[in-house]
Symmetry: C5
Subunit: 294 residues, 5 copies
C-alpha cells in the first residue's frame, strides 16, 4: 500500500507508481491511434462524422454502471480491510482474555497460545497469496508441530487447530472450566470466519457477465467517440478522445486494482505491516522473560 | 462460474459463453429490424422523425432504474456468495472445535460427525437446484440413516438433524457437558441460517412490478429510438439503435443472470467446487487412517 | 406474489395484474387530457410553449430522488423478506435443536412445542394483516390455551409465551438444564425480534415530507412537460407526455407497492406459502405417529 | 408523525402541515424576488443573460450531492426507527423470557421488573427530548426509587440499573441461576445499546463541511439561474427559477427534517405512540390482578 | 466538531472556519489565474475555444465518482461515530452489569473497575491521535499500574488488561462465577473491537489509485473548462470556471476532511466531549462517597 496524506494535493500528482498509468497505457494508445486514423480519414478521404446524441443518451447508464462497479470493488477492498481489522481485534482479545487465566499460573502454555496466535495472521496472509509460510515467530514452538502445520492441506486452519488445542490443554490442566474454554474458542472461531471472508473475496471476481458487458460497452463508446467529436473538434477530437478514454478506462481499472486487495501491488492492503502490528501487540503481553524473539 | 483474470483485458473479449449474447440476441434482432423498418418508412414513404428531447429527459431516471436493478441483483449474488462462505466457515469451525473433544477420545463418533458435516453442503446445493443428493462421502455412514436423510421432506434439514444427534451423542458419552453441546450446535444453527438465506434468494425474484415496469419502459425507449435518431443519423440510426439497445438490454440481462446465483449457468456460483473445498478441508482433519474416501 | 421466470421476457409483458396499470391509469388520464388541452390551446388560441431547459436541469435531481425512493422501498421489501426468512430459520432451529433432548424422551411435550412453533408464523402473518388467526395446526393443542392465545392483546406474543413455557416445562421435567433452556429460548427471542422488524416496516411509511415533496415535484414536472414539448413535438407532445408520465408515475408507484410487503396484493410477499413451508418442514420432524394433522 | 396511506395520491397533496412549505417559503421568496430583479434589469437596463451550459455541467454533481444528503438523512431516520423497534423487541423479550421464572413464583418481583421495563422507553424518549420524565406507570413502584431514578444524572441509565437489580434479586431469591440472570441481562444491555444509538443520531448532525458546502453551492446555483434562463424564458424565468428552487430547497429541507427524528415535529417518529404500545404489550403479560394501572 | 442547528439556514453561511475555504483557496486561485490566461489568449492572441461536448459527456461519470468518494468518506465518518457510540454503550454496560455484583459487596473493587473503564476512552482517543494519555481520572488508581499502562506498547490495550484483571479478581473473591466473568468480559472485548475499528479507519485512507485518478480527472476537467466556456461566456468564463471549480474541489475536499474523523479539526468527531460524557455517566454510578474526582 502507498502511504499518502490526503490533505496534500500535489505530492503524488505525477506518480506513475500505483496510479494505474502503466496498466491502461496500452488501451489508451490503441484508442488514440484509432482516433487519429478516424480523423485523418474524415479530413482526407471522406466525412464520416456522426452526431453526438448517441453518446449523450448512453452516457448516463454507462457512467452509472462504471462507477457502481468501481464502488462495488471499493466495498470489497473495505470489507477486506474490515476482515483484517477483525483479525487484529480477535488475536488481541484472545491474548487478553486468556491472560487472566494463564499468564501467571502457566506462563509456558500462555506463551505457546500467544505464539500460535501470532503465527495465524502470517499463515492467513501467505495462504491468500498462494503460499505456505508461518512467519518469524516459530522458533520457540515445538518443531514437529510447526512442520506439520506448515505442510498441512490448509495451513491457517491447522494453526487454528493448535490454538484450540492449547485452549483445551488449559482446561485439562484446571485453569478454567469448559465454559471459559468455549468462550475463548469463540475468538478462534471468529478468526476462521474472517479468514473465510478473505478467501471468498479473493476467489470470487465480479460476475463474468458484468465485467465483459461493461468492457464491451466501454470499447464501443470510446471507439465511436472520434466519429461523434470529429465534426466539432476537428483534429482536437484526438486529444478529446484521449482524455475521455483516460478517465473512463482509469475508473474501470480502479475497480480491477482494488477488487482483490490481498496481493502485493501498490493498491493492495499492507498485510505484512498488519501482521507485524499483531506480533508487536501480542508479544508485549507476554511475561517479560519471554517477550522478544530475536 | 467462468474463471478469468480481471487484469487481462483481451482474453474473453469475444467470448460468446457467459457474455449473454445468446440471451439478448433475439431482442436485439427485433429492435434492429424495427429500426430498419422505421428508417425505410421515413426515407421512402413519409418523414416520421421526432426530436430527441424525450429520450434525454427520461434517460436519467431509466438509466438509474436499470443500473439500480443490476446492482440489486449483484447484491443478491454477493449475499449468496457470503452465505456459502459462511457454510465453508461453519463447517470448518464445527470440525475444528469438536476435534479437541472427540478426535482422540472417540474417533469413530468424530468421523461420523465430520462426514455428516461434509454431506451438508452437497445436500444444500442439490436442494437449491431442485434435487436430492448427498454427495460422494456417504459410504462410511450408516446406510439406513443415509437412505432416510436422502428421502426426507427437506434433505439438508434432515442432515443437520444427524449432526445435532452426533453432537448430542458426544455429550451422552461424557466427552463434554451440555453447555459445550449447545455451543457446538450453534454452528449447526448457523448452517441452517445460511441455507435459509440461500432459499430466500432462490425463491424471491425482484418484485414483479419492478421487473415489468422496467422492461416496458425499456421497450418504449428502445422502440422509439429510431424515430428520434433518424433525422440526424439517417440510415446510421439502425446501427445507433442497435448499439444503444445492446448496452441497455445487456445491463438488464446482467441483473437477470446473477439474481439467482445457485444454478449451473456460466454466471452462477461454483457450488460444486465449494463443496469440494469443504470436503478436502474437513477430511484432512480426520485422524489419518480414515482420511480419504476412495 | 406473482411467480414468474425472469429469463422469459415475453410472458408477462402485457399483464395488467400486478403491473400497476390499474393504479396509475387515473393519473395518466389526467395528465394526458391536460397535455391535450395545452397543445390545443397552443395551436388554436395562442402559443404557450416554453424552452425545455428547465426540465433538463431539474431532471437529474428529480430522477435521483424518484429512483432512490423506489430503492428504499425495495430495501424494505427485501428486509421484510429477510425477516420472514429468519422466521423460517429460527422455527427450524428451535424444532431441530430441541429434538435431541425431547423427541425420544418426551414426544408429547415435543409435539406441543413444535405445534406452537408452527402456530407462531400464522399468528404473526395475520397480526401484520390486522387479523387474529392461529392457522390450521391447533387441533391437538389444549383448547383453553388456544382460546386464550387467539384472543390475547398481541396474539403472536402470547404464542411465543406458550413456546417459552414448553421450553421451561422441559427443564422442569429434567430433560435439560437451565443453560440449554435459555439457549433454546434464544430462538424464540429471535422470532420476536423478526416479528418486531415486520411491525416496524408495516407501521412506518416513508417520511411524509419525502413522499409529499416528491409527488408535488413530479406533478409540476409532468404538468409543465406539454409546454416544453409542444413547440418541437406539436401534437406528438401529447404522446410524449403520456410516455414520460407513464415511466415516472410507474417508478413512483413501484415504491408504493412494495414498501409494505405484508399485505395480500400481487406484489406482496407470499406469507401464506411461507407459513405452509414452515408447517411442512416442522411437522416432518415429529415422530411418525403424530406427523400429519388431517 | 403524520399517518397517511401511500396508496392515496390526492389526500395530502395540498397539506401545509409537515410538507415543509413553511420552512422553505422564506428562501423561496428571496430567490423569487432576486429573479424578478434580474429579469427586470435584463429587460429595462441592460442584457445580463448568460448561457445555461454552466448549470448543466454542475447539475449532475450538485443533484447527486443533494439527493445523497437526503438519503443519508433517511438512513438516519430509518436507523432511529430500527433502534426504537429494537427497544420494543427487547422489552417484550425481557418480560416474556423472565415470565417463565417469575410470573407464577414471585408475581410481586415480576411486576416490579415489568413496570421498570415499561418506564425505560418513557425515560429514553424524554431524555432524547432534553427532558426527565418516567411516564405514567410509576404509581406501584417504590416512591423513593422512582424519585432517585427521575433525578439521576442519566435517567434511563438509572432505570436500567433498577431492571438489573430486579433481575439480580430474582437470582438471590433462587428463581434462576447466575447464567440465566446474565442471559436476561443481555436484554437490558441491548436496551442500553439502542438508546446509545439514538443519542448518537441525536447529537451528531451531518458534518459541518458537507452541510455548508451543499448550501453554498445551492445558493450559487439558484442565484445564477435567472441569468441563465432570462434569455430563453423572458419573464417566465421568474416562474422557472421559483419552481426549480422549490424542488431543490425542498429536497435539502427533507434531509434537515428527518436527520434527527426524535423530536415532536410532524416528520419525527411517533415515540409517544411506541411507548404506549410497549406499555400495553407488557402490562398484558402481568398476572390479571395487577394488569391495568388506572 | 462545530455545533450547529441544521434548521438555521443563515447562521454559518459565511463562516470560514470548518467550511474548507482555507483548504481549497490555493487550488481555486491557480484555476482562476489559468482561466484568466486562457480567456486573454483567446481574445488577444488567437481563438482557442473548443466545444463543450466533451465536458458534458464526461460529467456524469466524474460527478458520480466525486460524490461516491464523498459518500464513502461520510460512511467512514459515520462508522467512526458508531464505533465511539459503541464505546459509550459498552462502558455503560460494563459499569451497570457489574454493579449488581460488586457495588454493595466490594465497593473498592467496583471503584477500581469503573475508573479503569473511564480511563479506556481517554487512552483510546489519545492513541488515535498519536499520543499516550490516560485522562483526568487516575488519582485513585494504583500509581505503579497507572505508570505501566501509560507507557505500554499499546496504552488502551494495557488499560483493557487492567479491566479484565479487575473482573478476574471479582471472581477470585467469590462475587460471581466464571461464567459471569466471561459475560462481563464480553464488554471489554467489544471495547477492543470498537477501538480496532477506529484504528482501521485511521490507518487506511481511500485506495491510492482512486484518490489520484479522481484528482487528475478533476484537474483535466477544470483545466479545460475555460476553453469550453470562453466562446459562449467571453470574460464570464473566468467567473464560471471559478464557480464550477469551487463546487467540484469543495466536494472532493469534504471527502478528505471527514474520511479520518478522529483528529482535532473542525469537522472531526468531538472525542473529548464523548470521553467527558462517559466519565460523568460512570462516576455517577459509583457509591456516593467516591463519586466526583476533584
Amino acid at each position: 500500500m502507498i502511504d499518502y496524506d490526503p490533505h496534500q494535493w500535489g505530492h503524488h500528482f505525477f506518480d506513475l507508481k500505483g496510479s494505474m498509468v502503466r496498466e491502461i497505457v496500452g488501451r489508451l494508445l490503441v484508442v488514440t491511434l484509432w482516433a487519429t486514423g478516424v480523423v485523418a480519414f474524415h479530413h482526407h478521404v471522406q466525412p464520416i462524422g456522426i452526431p453526438n446524441i448517441m453518446h449523450g443518451l448512453v452516457g448516463v447508464a454507462l457512467g452509472l454502471l462504471l462507477v457502481f462497479r468501481t464502488n462495488s470493488s471499493y466495498d470489497r477492498f473495505w470489507e477486506g480491510r474490515k476482515l483484517w481489522g477483525g483479525i487484529v481485534n480477535e488475536t488481541r482479545n484472545l491474548a487478553r482474555a486468556s491472560s487472566v487465566f494463564l499468564r501467571e499460573r502457566d506462563p509456558a502454555l500462555y506463551r505457546t497460545l500467544v505464539q500460535w496466535t501470532v503465527v495465524f495472521p502470517y499463515a492467513a496472509a501467505s495462504g491468500l497469496r498462494g503460499d505456505k509460510d508461518l512467519g518469524p515467530v516459530t522458533a520457540q514452538l515445538p518443531p514437529e508441530e510447526v512442520r506439520q502445520a506448515g505442510t498441512a492441506q490448509h495451513v491457517a486452519l491447522a494453526v487454528s487447530q493448535r490454538m484450540s488445542e492449547a485452549l483445551s490443554e488449559g482446561r485439562r490442566r484446571g485453569h478454567y472450566n469448559e465454559y471459559t474454554q468455549m468462550a475463548l474458542d469463540q475468538n478462534v472461531q471468529q478468526l476462521i470466519d474472517y479468514l473465510g471472508g478473505c478467501e471468498r473475496i479473493h476467489k470470487t471476481p465480479m460476475p463474468f457477465a458484468y465485467m465483459v458487458h461493461l468492457r464491451r460497452a466501454l470499447v464501443i463508446y470510446c471507439g465511436s467517440l472520434p466519429f461523434a467529436l470529429v465534426e466539432s473538434f476537428g483534429w482536437g477530437a484526438v486529444v478529446a478522445t484521449f482524455f475521455l478514454s483516460y478517465v473512463f478506462f482509469g475508473i474501470e481499472e480502479i475497480g480491477v486494482e482494488i477488487e482483490d486487495p490481498f496481493g502485493t501491488d501498490e493498491n493492495d492492503l499492507p498485510l505484512d505491516r498488519i501482521c507485524g502490528v499483531i506480533q508487536a501487540n501480542l508479544l508485549a503481553l507476554l511475561p517479560s522473560e519471554t517477550a522478544r524473539p530475536d
